[in-house]
Subunit: 297 residues, 2 copies
Amino acid sequence: MSLDFLKEYELIINENIKKNIDKIRVLDKSHSSIIDGMEYTLLAGGKRIRPSLCLLGAEIGGLNKENILNFAAGIEFIHTYSLVHDDLPGMDDDNLRRGKPTCHIKYGEGEAILIGDALLTHGVRLLMEEISTVKIASQFEAIKLMLDSIGLLGMIGGQAADLQQEKAGNKSLGILEYIHKHKTGSLLEGSLLAGAILANSDNQIKKDLISYSESFGLAYQITDDILDEESSVEELGKPIGSDVKNEKLTYLKIFGINKAKEMAVIEVDKCKKSIGNYGIYGNHLIDLADYLLERRK
Amino acid sequence: MSLDFLKEYELIINENIKKNIDKIRVLDKSHSSIIDGMEYTLLAGGKRIRPSLCLLGAEIGGLNKENILNFAAGIEFIHTYSLVHDDLPGMDDDNLRRGKPTCHIKYGEGEAILIGDALLTHGVRLLMEEISTVKIASQFEAIKLMLDSIGLLGMIGGQAADLQQEKAGNKSLGILEYIHKHKTGSLLEGSLLAGAILANSDNQIKKDLISYSESFGLAYQITDDILDEESSVEELGKPIGSDVKNEKLTYLKIFGINKAKEMAVIEVDKCKKSIGNYGIYGNHLIDLADYLLERRK
């Protein structure tokens, strides 16, 4: 398994994010701290899994990733908005993320609400930046898919179910699956598929990528739950065992750690099988799935 | 002055909002309370000024308003998101709006954050609904304009400056103008102009509508400040004098009530002069400007 490509992708996505932040900064005559907060949370050190999935989806469909960097960066803006709002006192009330104070701790609660709003709004705006090599109808379709994947029937629906579950104490497997399929899985799937749509990919590719995403999303969440139990504060950048402390409903809670690890392996295996012969970029997707089993943060 | 058209527009916009809420409700398998909160805040009784401006902009450009009802409703979803987040404890901390408990009072703070997020996300999604009579490139341009008008360089920038001003106690006229031009004016202008862009209007129309919007936005804010002082709780649906209580920077505070009233009249006059011979829909815009001076809520 080689993850060199992921480092390369992380680098070019980070460069694009910085470029886009600089662009707004020049135009922002009020010198608002909102833009500092956007930059702070965007550059706090994410692995850029979602934009990388988008770039891989495009490459598998035959579209050079360099063409859609703004689109991919937009996805990371949107993902970051969801983290900022999720950490707020009214939601998960988290003080630490990726080893740093969360947005509302650093900038204040009102500002963090606005920083999240700005990340979402500007994220969608970046999805709309002109892509000369892509037909506007395909771009329109890809953006609609992204909005559906982060809306009430996608990511927000998952966050709402999570919030409701914490209050109601409903701890069934059905609820857990609903939460993660929507809260985490939906954006991962949307990111990969949007890339393929931008590339005007055929139905077989899209079908394979959907299969891959379903298992990838599940494996991602299970390994996330395992990390919360097994990693260290230094590695993870946030308090260990916080799921247990917060009485979060997790795969570990329902299945225990050994069974959860087995499940992750099975899902990663399914990821690999769902990918046909898609050359180097298909191999990157396979490596990315394997990486889920080895990551320490 | 006849405002019959505004009642008619309010009716068809409300019908479209209800239709769109019903559509999501059917698809939402988690039966989340988020959708109840969206409906509650959307139907709390707004005057639908922004979507009406959008419909008028389209009609002036020669596009039948019936074609863009989803787009106009999307604008109201977006406006409503801004109210929900603005009322949050971390922001203005308001308990009452339009005579009813604000969203976080009724549904809880975490839910209100998500309800706002869902309104914004679904609002943008509605802007993207297919309009068979409009070229996709024009729709794309109109959506980009909307996103710019609600982003960091528009509405969010105004809200950020407002929040900052309250903390820093900066009470200059320059700040007041910046806040209102962005927080209120930007979305009003974007709504009217987006309609004109959807209709593929020529540059003269767009120029006139921009002039109109600039004065309309200012008149809207000044009359809003006057209402906060002069209206009754019953009429306004929220506590009177809350601006004074919250030490808000207002036009009344800087100029006093008489001068503020004069300024409103001058801006409404400018609105009227900026509108060329645009027939019945131009007249509606003129009536709408006059209405600002007479409204009691």
